[in-house]
């Protein structure tokens, strides 16, 4: 019981702490309070009644809602099964439970305060709490897309983004699977979601929307309301930094701070069901079409480009990992092909709607090989027991994808270039500038997530304790943490 109370206390601390930064941010941009927020602006601004209210396009709405459901499918059961198959059979349910519960927890937090703090205009790092409990978000509210005059229902945007937040937190549990205390994971997730996911989402994705970029002056004013990394020009189509590097750093820090699994190196820790892992990887691939192509926020040609890239880069990475493993280790493995596919999905995520299909092929081929190194050579260098290679795949693949996005977005290499909403055409492109912007994104998320994770894990360690007792770990978390077993032989 004491764990439950500790958990409630921490949730309370976070909830009461939140208004503190909200007040600061309300005071700062007071002068620009009339500037368009990405959502609700059109519906909630009767002063500018000259322009007819924008009505959501039903096709775009349908696609974004469908994509949100796909992202939920890739989380549960997709990610849960991918991870579950990789642990020993005595820990199967613990992993399924962790992903399932974290997904549920973050979903609730998202509508309570997450959406508001991430997607309202505040400072460069946080939004404000104006939309706490989705206050003011109605069936009439609309949110911006990437085209002028085209909007979607804000509620569709809420669930789409909420699914992203939930899967990101779910990704982290793989790094310390088979030994972490369940209550500790839940409390850590509340803190990390609040202080790392929300600000990263705000920094990368919050902007005033294309309709605010009427002319150069308006564009400049609108630009100043955007998130920190958006202003830096960092491109992240569907969450390479916000989702994958962010989660991978938290996982790596967790693997260091929770410590290695008991018996690592002496006891066989082979995956108990690569069948489940293959099913999970396939559901991830399928759901990722919603994740990446849905991030276009419109059922457009751009969404189709993201979809094709997600298909091809993933296939390339599955093949390149498999062939590299075949050459180096002697046998092509199912786990290698599945891991390669996930590495490809991760790497193409920031690039999906920005690069051409040939760019996607290069990104995919490199992702398979570089992430194979991530789970071998690099893993040995790091020395952390990242049980399911969250850093080796999501961290390494995410960083690779983020940087290569800056290369292959180049129109000369078949990319889309970067659209200039003031000039209403693709702007001039300079690869060095873009790659530096990408590095800003990568560096920011590494430092931000790293610091938040260290503090959060330390706090949880003091209050609850991060790992289960050694006896419980040996017996397996299914029975000792959850009182049930996955298989009855």
């Amino acid at each position: 019981m004491k764990h439950v109370f500790a958990l409630l206390a921490l949730v309370g601390a976070v909830a009461f702490g939140a208004p503190a930064w909200a007040e600061e941010t309300v005071a700062a941009p007071a002068a620009t309070a009339t500037a368009a927020a990405p959502a609700a602006a059109a519906a909630a601004a009767p002063a500018e009644a000259a322009a007819p209210a924008l009505v959501p396009n039903k096709g775009d709405n349908a696609w974004v809602m469908m994509s949100a459901a796909l992202v939920i499918l890739m989380s549960i059961p997709g990610l849960a099964l991918f991870y579950g198959g990789l642990v020993r059979s005595k820990n199967m349910l613990s992993v399924l439970m962790q992903v399932f519960t974290v997904f549920s927890l973050i979903s609730v937090l998202w509508v309570v305060y997450g959406y508001s703090a991430a997607f309202t205009e505040g400072n460069q790092f946080f939004g404000v709490l104006d939309k706490l409990f989705l206050k003011g978000v109605t069936v009439e509210s609309v949110g911006a897309t990437f085209s002028k005059g085209v909007v979607i229902s804000e509620l569709a945007f809420v669930i789409f983004q909420g699914a992203f937040a939930a899967i990101t937190c779910g990704l982290i549990v793989g790094a310390f699977a088979e030994r972490a205390r369940f209550a500790a994971i839940l409390v850590f997730m509340v803190i990390w979601f609040t202080l790392s996911y929300i600000p990263m989402a705000h920094m990368v994705w919050f902007w005033a929307g294309p309709d605010a970029y009427i002319d150069a002056a308006a564009g400049e004013a609108a630009g100043k309301t955007a998130g920190f990394l958006f202003q830096k020009g960092a491109l992240d189509f569907a969450g390479g930094t916000v989702v994958h590097i962010n989660a991978a750093i938290a996982g790596l820090v967790g693997a260091y701070m929770i410590g290695k699994r008991t018996g690592l190196g002496n006891v066989a820790m082979a995956p108990h069901s690569l069948t489940f892992t293959m099913i999970g990887a396939s559901l991830l691939w399928f759901g990722w079409f919603g994740f990446n192509a849905g991030s276009a926020l419109e059922a457009s040609g751009g969404a189709a480009l993201a979809m094709v890239n997600t298909w091809v880069a993933t296939a390339c990475a599955a093949l390149s990992w498999m062939f590299a493993e075949w050459m180096i280790k002697g046998k092509p493995s199912m786990l290698g092909a599945a891991s390669g596919a996930v590495a490809g999905l991760v790497a193409i995520t920031p690039a999906a709607g920005f690069v051409g299909v040939m760019g996607a092929i290069v990104i995919g081929l490199l992702a398979g090989i570089v992430c194979l190194w991530g789970v071998n050579g690099l893993k040995k260098l790091l020395g952390a027991d990242d049980s399911l290679d969250v850093f080796g795949i999501h961290g390494v693949g995410g960083i690779l994808g983020a940087i290569l996005t800056g290369v292959f977005v180049d129109p000369a290499l078949g990319g889309t270039g970067v659209y200039d909403y003031v000039a209403n055409k693709v702007g001039d492109f300079d690869m060095a500038t873009q790659v530096i912007a990408q590095l800003w994104g990568v560096g920011t998320v590494i430092v931000w997530s790293g610091v938040v994770s260290i503090v959060a894990f330390k706090l949880v360690d003091i209050v609850i304790g991060l790992r289960v007792a050694e006896d419980e770990e040996r017996e397996g978390l299914d029975v000792t943490s959850h009182g049930e077993t996955a298989y009855h032989h």
Binding site: A270, P271, L335, G392
Partner: protein, 112 residues
């Protein structure tokens, strides 16, 4: 009466069953088991981690027979389970004191 236990390669089970039926063995009990003998285990590789699998899957066959069948039974199992490669398994023979058929209460060779 004799009690025969044979450890064989799993994929040889059907051949052994057919061979025993052909010489009139009335029933066998089969169990999936793991073990090690002179055949070495193998190495499995999962991403970066290598595991040596010491215990290999085998099938254990148990049959109760009349003492006069023993030579035939050994020969049948030997022939049907053999691949000529290491790891083909072993046959163990025990003296069997008593057999009871639970339904009828018959004992000894009548119960076989």
């Amino acid at each position: 009466m004799k009690f025969v236990t044979a450890i064989i390669k799993p994929f040889k089970l059907d051949e052994v069953r057919e061979a025993l039926s052909a010489i009139g063995v009335q029933g066998v009990t089969v169990t999936e088991v793991k073990g090690f003998g002179r055949q070495k285990g193998h190495t499995e590789l999962y991403r970066g981690a290598e595991y040596v699998v010491d215990f290999l899957p085998k099938v254990k066959i148990e049959a109760a027979i009349r003492s006069d069948q023993i030579e035939q039974v050994i020969e049948a199992i030997e022939k049907s389970a053999s691949t000529g490669k290491i790891g083909d398994g072993k046959i163990f023979v025990f003296d069997l004191e008593q057999v009871v058929r639970i339904r009828t209460g018959e004992t000894g060779t009548d119960a076989l």
